[in-house]
Symmetry: C2
Subunit: 418 residues, 2 copies
């Protein structure tokens, strides 16, 4: 069979298997995930052997040591993978939940019930643990899943899928519900993106270029996560200690992630008092500051910010800082330069907190808390399958529920339409 034909077969079989997946009782899904976790632990030596093939090939190809590290599996990482599966087993099953039910004047009872999406495709880069994580979430939500990892991790990914698949077979669950595309060629991705007849949703996990490539070529709906240019607005009524604590946490705790702070907006009435203090603290923490003229008046260590700085997702210890006239000015800046990811206000003013919550339509909007909470785990969704920065089909951090949709259910006793 050609690659094209094989991928079509994988997708068609996944669609068929999705019918059985949708009907699986919660206990069967949980038992499966627990058994998969155990199997990963038991097969640790084989997994490390397969992973070594990827590492050796990666070294030959001259991958950076950072890339090789991301690729590497050892006992600790395999145990973490297994723990991840157990964690998903412990999450509530979204399938079958009736989110609402109401009565019509003709006594029909109408409700909305969560059902699986069907078949989900995940396209990701080097970390092999995504294979287990993403598979667990998709299966728990009653879906089939087709995984296409980076070519560098192909042996590791196939080995993980083999181990998980064996447990599915043992449990009498169709193995076609979990596939890894076995071709490292890009042709495989392209063909996968054409299976709109069989695949309901594509979730790319990786850098902006991967996501743009997928969006460009997909005939299937794609969850998009382009970038996180996150803002904090320090209002004139902010508690300075709180503001400093939140700004430092958002910028410094883990600068390389999408929910870290990139632009700090400061109300002009507190520019003179707050800027010297926060600038000093950040400079001590090795944060490079880029400010507008007003910021630089009170923080001479800041270099001049340019138009590009307001758009930048630095992902490192650099911070753009701007003084704004008021809340409106702050919101206008966020509307103009934000990426719809995450924004926070630090304020003591009731009205401004409510206006910020209402009027900033980014996917996560916080009052008096760090932007770093924009994360499925932190918000209480359990494990996270990704973050969407576009409004369809989900917006913001996505958990198990976002791998489902709802159908209408209607209980009648013979009603007909007049």
């Amino acid at each position: 069979m050609t690659i094209v034909a094989q991928i079509r077969t994988i997708a068609a079989d996944a669609r068929q298997a999705a019918i059985a997946m949708a009907k699986l009782p919660t206990t069967a899904k949980n038992d499966l995930l627990m058994a998969m976790a155990m199997a990963l632990i038991n097969d640790t030596p084989q997994l490390i052997d397969e992973n070594r093939k990827d590492l050796e090939a990666g070294e030959k190809k001259g991958l950076s040591s950072a890339m090789l590290d991301r690729l590497m599996l050892d006992e600790t990482r395999i145990k973490a993978m297994a723990d991840g599966l157990r964690e998903v087993a412990n999450l509530p099953d979204p399938v079958g939940e009736v989110t609402r039910m109401w009565k019509r004047p003709n006594n029909l009872m109408v409700g909305k019930m969560r059902i699986p999406l069907g078949v989900i495709g995940i396209i990701y880069e080097a970390r092999p643990n995504v294979t287990a994580d993403a598979a667990a979430l998709c299966l728990k939500a009653g879906n089939s899943v087709i995984l296409r990892g980076g070519s560098e991790a192909i042996h590791s990914n196939l080995a993980i899928a083999r181990i998980l698949g064996r447990e599915m077979e043992r449990a009498g669950i169709p193995q076609a519900a979990l596939s890894v595309i076995p071709f490292p060629e890009r042709e495989g991705v392209l063909e996968m993106l054409k299976q709109e007849e069989f695949i309901d949703l594509i979730i790319p996990r990786g850098g902006e270029s991967l996501i743009r490539f997928v969006v460009e070529h997909s005939k299937i709906p794609v969850i998009k996560h382009y970038k996180g240019v996150c803002h904090i607005f320090v209002d004139s009524s902010a508690d300075f200690d709180m503001a400093e604590r939140i700004v430092v946490n958002a910028k410094v705790q883990r600068p390389g992630v999408c929910n870290s702070l990139e632009t700090l907006l400061i109300h002009k009435d507190v520019a003179e008092t707050f800027i010297p203090r926060i600038a000093q603290t950040l400079t001590d923490l090795k944060v490079e500051l880029r400010g507008d003229d007003c910021v630089r008046e009170f923080a001479p260590q800041a270099t001049p910010a340019t138009e590009e700085d307001w758009q930048a997702e630095y992902l490192e210890l650099i911070l753009a800082v701007r003084v704004v006239d008021d809340l409106d000015d702050a919101i206008n800046h966020i509307n103009a330069y934000g990426s719809l990811h995450t924004e926070a206000i630090v304020t003591g003013d009731y009205h401004n907190s409510q206006r910020f919550i209402r009027e900033v339509n980014s996917s996560t909007v916080l009052v008096n808390a760090s932007t770093r909470f924009a994360d499925g785990n932190q918000l209480g969704l359990g494990a996270e399958i990704g973050i969407s920065t576009t409004k369809l089909h989900s917006f913001g951090p996505m958990g198990l529920e976002d791998l489902t949709t709802t159908k209408f259910i209607v209980y009648g006793d013979g009603q007909i339409r007049q």
Copy 2:
């Protein structure tokens, strides 16, 4: 300006206007819709004049009398349009609703708040009333809307948009929030479908060929509604009077719509008793029957059903009828031939009712009620913007809520991430 440049400008302006739309208080939106309704009534003569241009052009082009009738506006239809606007004004505003809120262990309050989608594009065919209906729903949900109606209705659509736009201007609401693409050329549609930077969702309303064309060419997410091959399964425990009433209603009341019945499945244990009765009733109502061998044994007037009949959306007084072994057989038939639109069971058996509700994953699943209830109004959503038969971003009949998404809102008191 070229068509391309003008459409890009319309879309960019709509995106800008969406910021103001999202902030509009409910009362401002409701007052606007009431004023628009009044304006349509007051401008009835001008509207009829403009509509006459379309009708004359249509006659010259040789449109069918059915097409010309759909195109025609008179006092009654304009009043109905105005009533539609008032009805939308009376619906609850979905924007700002907090659908859930929970507390995290660190005392963060996390919630999900409904926000508008942003900019919605509607692509539709000849009926000019869609211009007012769709605009009202999109605006009420806080969105900007770009309308592209059929070229045959261009004068009517532009006149309606002019009247509605005048009321927006009076109310100080940016007119760019409501546009009609003023070009009858197909190039206009194609260019609109490329504005993924500015348009969040495309809703096509019309026949399958229009929807396929839009899906094929859109870079923007599209609500798809291909067809409705709706089933009713008459279980062995069904009350025959109820089953007959429901089947007749679903097939005969309005056969030309997507939620009408196309295939009737009958449990083998009641084939001998129920088929002669229902066949006679349907034949008396001029329904042509196409059945499998078993059906024809008890209903000799039925012609033999072929494979195509199980896939057919007749939209007329024809019904495919099949005898099935049991509930599983019925569900398998629906999975194999259904269109994920609407299916119903008629049963007196508790277990079968629950299994049918759980295991049939069409967008509307009913017990002991007519398939004709699969409609936004009938299910209690208020006015309907369309029906989605794919699972993203909505599934089934769509109301105001489906023109929104949710963002995460977080209330803290200084929390930072550990």
